[in-house]
Amino acid sequence: MSEEILQVENVKKYFKIGPNQTVKSVDGISFAIRRGETFGLVGESGSGKSTLGKTIVGLYPATSGKIRFDGHELGNLDRQTQRKLNREMQMIFQDPHASLNPRMRVGDIIAEGIDAHHLAKGKERQELVYHLLERVGLRPEHAERFPHEFSGGQRQRIGIARALAVKPKFIVADEPISALDVSIQAQVVNLLDDLKQEEDLTYLFIAHDLGMVKHISDRIGVMYLGKMMEIAESSDLFEEPLHPYTQALLSAIPIPNPRLARKRERIVLSGDPPSPVHPPSGCRFRTRCPYATDICSKVEPAWKEVKKNHWTACHLYNQ
C-alpha cells in the first residue's frame, strides 16, 4: 500500500458555456493526499475547489489529466473495480437541505448505499442503520422520520451517516459546515474528527472558512481561478504564507479579538477576481497582486518546492 491514497496529475475540468466560450474551472492541478490525513482545500467562490472535489470522486468526468485512487487509475476501470471505488470514495455536501431527498425516510436515505452495494439485508440492514445513526449522534428512532423534521446540524449528521454507511476510505467534504450556525459547526467538526480516528478515514475538506480549515487540516491547498497557488502543512501555511494571494487571504480573516483586530494592518486586495472564462495571462493572480511585475503577465510561474513540503507557484521565489 502506498503512502499516498490519492494522486491528482495535471487534472483539468472545462465546461463549455457557449459556442466559443469555455470556463476553465480546474486548469491543470496536481497534488496528492496521504493516507489518513485531512487535506484542506480553500479558495474563494469561483476558484474551482468544489469542481475539483466533484471531479475527484467522479461526479464530473475530468477533461484531461490523471486521478489515481489507491493504485487504480480512474476513468478506464472494469465495472467491478469501478463499483468498489464508488463505495470507497464518498462525498458530504454543503447544503443539508438540498442534499437529502425530502420524500424518503432517513433510514432509507442512509441505507441507499448499503442497498446499492448489497452490503446488508433485512434485520442486518436495519441494525446497521441504527448503529450509524448512533455513530453520528442521532437516535435509532430517527430512522422512521423525514428530513424536514430535523435541524440543519442534524441533517448534516444524516449526510455523514449516509457517507459512512458503505465503509468508505476517503471522503470529500464540500463545505460541510458553511450552512450551519457557529455553535453547531463545532459539533459537526468534532464529529468528523472522531470518525476519522475511528474509521481510518482520509478527508478532502473543502471550505472557505480558513479558521475551521486550519483547525481540521493537516495540510492545506490554496486555489485561485482554477489553479493551485500554494500547498503546505497547515501550521506552516498560517505562520509563513509564501504566495501573495495566500498572504492576502489570511490577512482578510477577521480575528475574534478586539484588541488585536484594532492593531493589525491588513492587506486589502483591490478589485474582484477576474472571470474564469478569460483568465489573465501568466500568473492568474497578477491583476490583483501588489507585487506583480512584467514577468508575471508573460510567464506562468512554475510549481516549486520553495521550502521543505511547502510548494507554491510564484515568480517571487524563482531566483
Partner: protein
C-alpha cells in the same frame, strides 16, 4: 443626553399553522450617535426581526408590545407616509443578499437616483450627479459608465457597494446592516468592512451591524448585544464581551470558534443541543436546556439583567451573589 435609538420591551410574534412563533420576546437596547453596535446571535435568535421592526417592515399586528424611539420620537406606530419619510432621510438599511436586494430590470444609477429624487427634491440631472458621486464614494471605478449598467453586470462585492450607496444616499443618521458580508468572499468582505468603517468615520453615522461572525464583531463594533432565543442575553462593550463575558452562551460562542494562533490542535468545545423552540419557549432562561451550569432557578424563572459594570449586563443567574462561583473557561490565550 438621550439615545439616538431606543428599543424597549419589544415583543413580536407570528401566527403560523403550527402555532404562534414568539420571534422577539422582550428585547431592549439602545444605540448612541456615532456608535457601531453589533447584534450577534444564531439563526432564530430574533436579531433580524428586531431590526426589521425598527425599519417598519413588520406588520403592526405582529408587534405585541414595546416602544421604539428614534431621536426621542416614537416610531413604532407611524403612518406609512411618515415611515417612508424617516427611512428616506434618517435610517438606511443594507440587506444580506446583494443579489436579491437590487431590482434586476433597472439600471444601477436609476436605483440610486430614485431615492434621492424622492426625498431630496433634486432635479433629474442633480440626482444623477449625486448618484455618480455616491458610486465613487463607495469605491466603484468608472462611476459614469457603471451608472448605466444593470445589476447582473456587477459582481457580488460591487453590488453590495451599490446597496450601501443607496442606503447612504440621504445621509442617514443610522445605518442598519443585516449580515452585510455573509454572502461575500473573505477578501471582498475585508473590502466592504473597510469601506463601512471609513464611511462611518467620514459621515459620523451610527451603525447597527447584525452578524454571526465574531471576527467581524471584534473588528467593527464598539458595543455588542448578544441575542439568544428571542431575547438579549448579554450586552456590553466589545472588550466586556470578548474579555470578561458573563453569560454561558457567550462563553460557548467564544469557545466554539477555532483559534488561528493555536500551535497545537485543540478540540473545539461546541454548545451541545440545539436552539430553543420558539413556538413554546421555555419558561425560564432560554439557554438553560443547553447550559452546563444550569441550576434549578434557571428552569423556573428567566433572569432579569444583572449589572456587571457600567453598560455591561448579563441575563444569567450565575451573576447572583447567591449562585455558586463558576470558573468561566473562556478560550484562553486567544490572541
Amino acid at each position: 443626553m438621550s439615545h439616538l435609538l431606543e428599543v424597549e420591551h419589544l415583543k413580536v410574534t407570528f401566527p403560523t399553522y403550527g402555532g404562534e412563533v414568539q420571534a422577539v420576546r422582550d428585547v431592549s437596547f439602545y444605540v448612541d450617535q456615532g456608535e457601531v453596535v453589533a447584534i450577534v446571535g444564531e439563526s432564530g435568535s430574533g436579531k433580524t426581526v428586531t431590526v426589521q421592526t425598527i425599519m417598519g417592515l413588520i406588520p403592526a399586528k405582529n408587534i405585541k408590545d414595546g416602544n421604539v424611539r428614534f431621536n426621542g420620537k416614537e416610531i413604532l406606530h407611524l403612518s406609512k407616509k411618515e415611515m417612508r419619510k424617516l427611512k428616506g432621510s434618517e435610517i438606511g438599511m443594507v440587506f444580506q443578499d446583494p443579489m436579491t436586494s437590487l431590482n434586476p430590470t433597472m439600471k444601477i444609477g436609476k436605483q440610486i437616483a430614485e431615492g434621492i429624487r424622492k426625498h431630496q427634491k433634486l432635479s433629474k440631472a442633480e440626482a444623477k450627479q449625486k448618484a455618480i458621486e455616491l458610486l465613487r464614494l463607495v469605491g466603484i471605478p468608472n462611476a459614469e459608465e457603471r451608472y448605466h449598467q444593470y445589476p447582473h453586470e456587477f459582481s457580488g462585492g460591487m453590488r453590495q457597494r451599490v446597496v450601501i450607496a443607496i442606503a447612504l444616499a440621504c445621509n442617514p443618521k443610522l445605518l442598519i446592516a443585516d449580515e452585510p458580508t455573509t454572502a461575500l468572499d473573505v477578501t471582498i468582505q475585508a473590502q466592504i468592512l473597510d469601506l463601512m468603517k471609513e464611511l462611518q468615520k467620514k459621515m459620523g453615522m451610527s451603525i447597527i451591524l447584525i452578524t454571526h461572525d465574531l471576527g467581524v464583531v471584534a473588528e467593527m463594533a464598539q458595543r455588542v448585544i448578544v441575542m439568544y432565543g428571542g431575547t438579549v442575553v448579554e450586552t456590553g462593550t466589545v472588550f466586556d464581551i470578548f474579555e470578561n463575558p458573563k453569560h454561558p452562551y457567550t462563553w460557548g460562542l467564544l469557545r466554539s470558534i477555532p483559534n488561528l494562533h493555536d500551535k497545537e490542535k485543540k478540540r473545539l468545545v461546541p454548545i451541545e443541543g440545539s436552539p430553543p423552540d420558539l413556538f413554546s419557549p421555555p419558561k425560564g432562561c432560554p439557554f438553560a436546556p443547553r447550559c452546563p451550569y444550569a441550576m434549578e432557578i434557571c428552569v423556573e424563572k428567566n433572569p432579569t439583567p444583572f449589572h456587571i459594570s457600567n453598560g455591561h449586563t448579563a441575563n444569567c443567574w450565575l451573576n447572583d451573589p447567591r449562585a455558586p462561583k463558576v470558573e468561566a473557561f473562556i478560550a484562553e490565550g486567544r490572541e
